[in-house]
Structure formats: C-alpha cells, structure tokens
Amino acid sequence: MAPDLTADPFAPPPGGWVRVSPRLAFVRRAIGLAIVLPLGLLATVLFAINDLSVWAGINLFVMLLVAVWIIWIVGRQVRAIGYCERADDLVVTRGVMFRELVIVPYGRMQLVDVRGGPLARRYGMSTLQLHTAAATTDAAIPGLPVAEAGRLRDRLAALGEARTAGL
C-alpha cells in the first residue's frame, strides 16, 4: 500500500503507471502545428512581399522554433500522463512544468464520461473524464484506446455504484 516516497511526490503507485497512447502526441502535435505553421507562413509571406526580408527571416526562424518546441513539449506532456487503478481509488497524474496527481475514490465518482474529438476518434482514442461533487477534482485521462476507455468507464461505474457514499 505505502508507495515508495524516497524523493518524488509523483512516484508511481506499486502497480506502476499505465501510460496513454503515444498516438495522442501525434494528434496533439498535428493540431498544434496546424495552427502555428499556416499563421507563421502567412506572416512570413506578408513580410516578404512588403520588402521586409529581415523580418520575414526572423519570423520564419521563430516559427520553426515554436514548431520544434511544440513537438518536444507535447511528447513530454503525453509521456507524463498516467493512471493506476488501485483497490479503493483511481490515481491520475499529468504535467511537466506544473505536475499534478489526483486520487479519486471510487465511491466519490458521480459521473464518468467518455468523449473524443473527430481527430482523436480517427486514431481510435477517447478521453475519460471523471466527475465528483468537487469542481476542483478535474481528473481527465486523454489518449485512451477506445476499448480501454469503455472498459475503464464500465469498471469505474460499477465500482462507483458499489461504493457510493452520501455527500
């Protein structure tokens, strides 16, 4: 039961983290780049046709920097997401700069949602969202394979029903 707490407050529980699909990183990178690249290219072109070639160059450079940063940070963020089903609660972790670990007791889950945008669904992923009576709980697990999301939802709903406690 007692996790190894030698140094890291986000150390995995004994079962270890279950990580989410690496395809989530691909989808998130695609979305990020789909926003940054056209805007950056548009600005570059505008600079260029106005004879501001120095600014066009700087803009292009910054755009590439941002793109590389997105590719790098998204990978780290996705690798930081993990969850673990324990005997009495679900533990979810995420975050690179601002790290977070949420322990949600099964008896406190009021609602378990599975949702997914068109791109995520295209790559067979869903997001599982847990709701408790606290607005601050904020436990979502993105990038779950559709089947795993369904299994987890059914299991959590069953556990929640068995252990639900009054507010």
Binding site: L5, D89, P105
Partner: protein, 453 residues
C-alpha cells in the same frame, strides 16, 4: 396537510403581484425615460405604462395559475410550470442540502415568503416556491426537511420544530466589523483623496474615481449590512437555522451532516478585537444570484458574519460534533516554504485527527479550514516549477465548490504525497463508517441501495 400533500397546489394568489412589485418601479422609470419620444406627452406615456402593467399582470397571473406543486408517490417534490410548454421538475429530497426561506421586502409587507430548497448537484434545477404565506412556508420547510430526513409524510401535522437560539450578532458589532477591513479602509482613504483632489481642482475625473473607490464599495457595505443585520443562529430538530436581514429577511436551515467544510477566517484588523468569520461549504447552495436577500458566495453559507473566537469555536462544536478543532496538533511547513510563501509562512500548518483535516494559512487574512474526512471528494498533489526547485509540493483536499478549499500548502515534496495517501485512507474509512443520507432513519434500516450522492 399530510393527506393533501400529494394534491397539486398553487402558490399564494398574491404571488404574481408581489413578484411584479419588485420590477414595477423599474418598469415605470424605464417607460418614462426610454419612451420620452412617444408622441402625446404625459398622458400617452401613462397609457403605455398602464398597458404594460395589464399585460404583465395577465402574464403573471396565467403563469401563476399554471404552476402547481405536490409530493409524488416517492415522497419527492414536483413542480409543474410553464405557459405553453409544460415543464415538470422533480426535487429528489434525499439529496436536499438546505432550505432557505426568504422574505423580500415587498413580499414581507404582505406577509409572504419564498421557500428555496437546495439540492446537491442541481446546477440547472434551482427551485423556488414563491410565494407562500408565512405559516405555509414554515410548514413546507418542516415537511421538506422531515421527508429529506426519511420521515416520510405524516410529519407535517406535528408542530414546526422548536428553535433554540444560540448566537445573535449585535448590529453594532456587525457595522464595526465591516468597516474594520483593511480593503475597506484603504478604499475609503484613497477615495477621499480623490474627492479632495476633485474638490480642489474641480475636475470631474476625481469624482468618478471617488465613486469607484469609495462609492460603489460603500454601497456594497450598506447592502451587506442590511442583509446580515440581526444575524442569529438557532438550533432546531431539523438543523441549524440562520436568520438575518433588516428589510428583506431570510432564514436558512442547514440540516445536520450537510456541512461539507468549514473555515474560520480573521482579517488583519479583526485580530485586535479577537473577531472571526465562519463560512461553510454546503453542496448546491448559493446558486441563486442577483436578487434580494440571498447571501453568501456560490456554494457557500456564512455561518457567522462576525463573532469572538470562543463563540465561533463553540458553534464549530455543534456543526462538527465531537471534534476538538483547537486541540488538533498542527505541523508547520518546512523552512524551504519561507522562500515560496514568505508572508504567510508563519501561519502555514496542517493537521489531522480521526475525523477532520485542518489547514491553516493566510497573511493579512488568516484562515483555518476544516474538512471532515467523510466529506473528502478527492485528493490532489500539485507542484509548480518554483516549488520543485525548493523541494515543495501542495496537497489539496477537494471539497464541493464554495469558499472553503482546504490545502496543505508548500509541504516537503515527499511529505505532500504522504499527506495525500494518508488523507485518502482516512477519507475511505470515514466514508465507510458514515451514517445514511436520510439522517432520521434508524441505523438498522439499511440505506436504500444505489442512493446517489
């Protein structure tokens, strides 16, 4: 009322007029200001007002006629309403969190009151029975609370439970406490400065600044004073009853065991008087916005606007029976926390006993947050970059939305996780031992399976 309870009823016939009374002055003013260009002068404007009044009266009356309420076979409250599209709502009384009776000024003058049952998670389901006669309102409150407690029906013929007054906040203390707030004083001084400049230079800007720094906050002070005037806390069989108000009055009843979290806070200047304020998180409370005597922040209830520390702790004992909050040993934050939170470092401390989690903090306004383990929703550990450098992390113990958000701030990183794991275990044990939702049902009767939280 018992046998009649399941027969659909209407609110008091004067309701539409009392409701209209609130908007009336605004309407008349609007017509006279906005409709200045209507040809025909004063008489035709008067005619317009009359026309609008008649239309509003008809609409109000029809919607009153179309609104009925009753208790269904499951013992829950149902309300049917709607002019053309009928809408029937069900209030699940096992989830009742509190009942408030408000008397807005106009309604109060004609002896009417509004009953507002608050239900957990009822974000879109704010239900108000407006208006009932005062006797009817009190009988309704008793009935709602009795049914919520599991005493199904039959209770209403019994007299409305007696109240035992516990605390009354003297209006002078309330007035002094509201002025003795560092923000109020700073705002006042700055505002007077602007006023002096405006008077000296004759520039309009100074007056505008005065209105924003002193005038508007001053107005909210006055409305706050009117709302909390003569604040009393009383105890009755169906819960704690909080009454206040000078012009519009309200009486809120919080049944036992519906308190999600408590905070005791003290602003800078109150330290001198030894005063504190006590706030509660109550699930589903405070969602009514804008009008009349409804007070407190969203999800919160002010249990005591101002009181001496000893009185506050005495009341805390009734809200959380058997918990000795001042007796809980608190552990201070590690020295590294001084770099992250230099101002409140001296206050930062947390503790826990078998039944509650306690966190202390704050700089100018010091606060002590108390959360019963059985009410813990989830536990979170968070760490920002600066905290990581210092080897710190914060453990949040999540409560329902409201003014109390207990957290063990800036603990040692490993300690933060240990606190979180310990809280999860304590919360689980407390939940398992907790009494059923329907608090008057005897323990040997099993709670209904699948009763939602």
């Amino acid at each position: 009322m018992t046998e009649l309870a399941s027969v659909p009823r209407r609110t008091h016939p004067l309701s539409p007029f009392a409701k209209a009374g609130q908007g009336l002055s605004g309407l008349v003013l609007a017509v006279f200001v906005v409709a200045r260009d209507v040809p025909g002068g004063f008489v035709s404007r008067l005619g317009l007002v009359a026309l609008l009044l008649i239309a509003a009266a008809v609409l109000g009356w029809v919607s009153w006629w179309r609104t009925t309420f009753w208790f269904d076979d499951d013992g829950d409250l149902r309300i049917a309403s709607g002019l053309f599209y009928r809408n029937e709502r069900r209030l699940q009384l096992s989830r009742l969190q509190s009942v408030e009776i408000t008397r807005p000024l106009v309604a109060r003058l004609v002896g009417l009151a509004e009953v507002r049952p608050e239900v957990a998670g009822g974000e879109n389901a704010k239900i108000a029975l407006a208006y009932l006669s005062e006797d009817e309102a009190m009988a309704m409150r008793a009935e709602l609370l009795a049914r919520a407690a599991g005493v199904r029906g039959g209770h209403a013929d019994a007299p409305v439970p007696e109240e035992r007054p516990l605390i009354r906040v003297p209006p002078t203390d309330l007035a002094i406490s509201m002025v003795m707030n560092h923000w109020v004083i700073i705002g006042g001084v700055v505002g007077l400065g602007f006023l002096a400049v405006a008077l000296a230079t004759g520039r309009i800007g100074g007056f505008v600044a005065f209105v924003f720094t002193s005038g508007l906050p001053g107005l909210s002070l006055v409305t706050g004073y009117l709302a909390y005037y003569d604040f009393t806390v009383a105890e009755s069989a169906d819960g704690l009853r909080l009454r206040s108000g000078l012009l519009s009055t309200r009486a809120q009843t919080v049944p036992p065991g519906r308190v999600q979290a408590v905070s005791i806070s003290q602003t800078l200047l109150w330290r001198w008087k030894g005063w504190v304020k006590v706030q509660l998180n109550v699930a589903g409370s405070g969602g009514h916005e804008g009008n009349d005597g409804s007070t407190g922040t969203k999800g919160g209830v002010i249990l005591l606007p101002v009181a001496p520390v000893a009185v506050a702790y005495g009341l805390l004992n009734r809200v959380l029976p058997g918990v000795d909050v001042p007796g809980i040993a608190l552990a201070a934050a590690p020295r590294a926390a001084r770099k992250r939170a230099p101002w409140q470092f001296n206050q930062l401390a947390v503790g826990s006993d078998a039944s509650v989690f306690v966190a202390r903090g704050g700089w100018l306004t010091r606060r002590l947050d108390v959360l019963p383990h059985a009410r813990t929703q989830s536990v979170r550990v968070t760490q920002g970059p600066w905290q990581r450098l210092l080897g710190l992390a914060t453990t949040h113990v999540d409560s329902t939305p409201g003014p109390v958000a207990p957290a063990a701030k800036h603990r040692g990183a490993t300690e933060a996780r240990a606190i979180a794991e310990a809280q999860a275990v304590l919360a689980g044990a407390a939940r398992a031992a907790f009494r059923p939702e329907r608090w008057a049902v005897r323990p040997e009767e099993p709670a209904q399976p699948g009763e939602p939280a």
